[in-house]
Amino acid sequence: MTVLAQFATLTMKDLRLELRRKESFVTVAFFAILILMTFTFALGPTVTRLEELAPGLIWIAFVFTGVLTVGNAFHVEEVNATLEGLLLAPVDRGVLYLSKAAGNALLILAVHIVLVPLFFILFNVDRWAVLPSLGVVLVLATIGFAAVGTLLAAVTHTARAREVLVPLLLLPLAVPLILGAVRSTEVLFLGASLAEAARWVKLMVAFDALFLAGGYLAFDYVVEL
């Protein structure tokens, strides 16, 4: 099997599981909606200065849902000790990491395809024109977040207190990514094009590349039997 075929097979396996059970998507999506409700309670029903707050709120919701999603990546493999099976299979372990990261990224994206428009509707943000550019930022942020998150989920999945451990490690490491995402979104909300936020976009691309490569190389050490 070529590397690409391995990647496709492994990713499809996780996607098929998720499509059958819809467990992660449904729980995370509902959690995301609850976060939006909490925003309303915290800020009051009639929000002023929303244009200023919206970029921050979107990415706070992103961090919450993202942390919840990546933490689960290796739980599914635990019930029947299937991770050992995967590790024994003749596939490159780096590819296994990439497929897990891809699965996480797709899940986070799927949730946000629902969440972001819902946010716009619930908070009366009349900025539908920014959606395509915001989508680009979202994809870049999701890749980076899934890249670090998946590696950390692998590091912590056998440890005690793993639920707290992932956010504890992930949030400080993801600072450049979150800053990049928030600043780019702010630029978009000010009515400028994404080109105005070029250096933040480049920073996010650099982050994604660094952690995809780092995760690919480090995963072998993390899951060693």
């Binding site: 600072v175 920073l203 993390v222």
Partner: protein, 240 residues
């Protein structure tokens, strides 16, 4: 069985430790007396500027510690010798301590100088994030029991954490410069007085010795602990 008194560059370990202990004591005494009592205070900032003689060496030690964590982690993953894991762990603990002390001393200096304990300045923010990354590193070491596995996982965190530092620094810097220019910061490019520079260097060397001394002591402590655990295991096995 590991030896507690393995030679370091041909010298007995206990001798090297003692040497650095003496150097640290003498250096810190000389550095603190010079810095806090003898050297004249800063013309503009006054007495509070003397904190610099502690603050700067502690900050350097903090960054040095984390670079050592990264280097030892790489060596561990290549050689799989737990001695390198002990060094990485010791350095991380020392680094977290010095980072916390750097922030504390900086706050005490910042209150009278900038008029605030804390500000989201690029350097302060980066240091705070570093503190959290390496607290995370130490927490991972706490929750994984098996020594080899703990060493492996910690090494991965130690390496990616350090690789992230340039990106964090850059992003935080852009974030602040985009938002607002620092208002109460010191004048850039100010010439430092010769005597002040000497005092600072003296303290840097003393704190460097302190770092090495703490490293030697902390790794020694860990070796003693491991020997005791091995002995305990041996006894339990013997009783049964």
């Amino acid at each position: 069985m590991m030896s507690l008194d393995r030679p370091i560059f041909g010298f007995r370990r206990s001798m090297v430790t003692r040497l650095f202990g003496l150097l640290t004591t003498g250096g810190l005494a000389a550095g603190l007396v010079t810095g806090l009592l003898i050297v004249p205070p800063d013309a503009i900032q006054g007495e509070v500027q003397r904190i610099m003689y502690l603050h700067v060496p502690m900050a350097w030690n903090a960054y040095l510690s984390f670079a050592v964590v990264c280097a030892c982690s790489v060596v561990y993953l290549i050689r799989r010798d737990l001695a390198w894991d002990r060094r990485a762990a010791a350095s991380a603990e020392i680094g977290v301590m010095f980072t916390a002390l750097t922030i504390a001393a900086g706050s005490i200096w910042g209150r009278p100088t900038w008029g605030t304990w804390w500000t989201w300045d690029a350097r302060l923010t980066t240091t705070a994030i570093l503190l959290f990354i390496y607290i995370g590193y130490l927490v991972v070491r706490q929750v994984v029991e098996e020594p080899e596995k703990r060493a492996r996982l910690a090494a991965v965190i130690g390496i990616i954490g350090f690789l992230d530092v340039p990106l964090i620094r850059l992003s935080v810097q852009w974030w602040r410069t985009l938002h607002q220019q620092p208002t109460v910061f010191r004048v850039g490019g100010m010439m430092i007085d010769r005597f002040m520079l000497f005092t600072l260097l003296l303290n840097l060397i003393a704190f460097g010795c302190l770092y090495l001394y703490l490293m030697l002591k902390r790794t020694e402590l860990e070796m003693v602990r491991e020997i005791l655990v091995a002995e305990q295991v041996r006894r339990i096995a013997h009783d049964e």
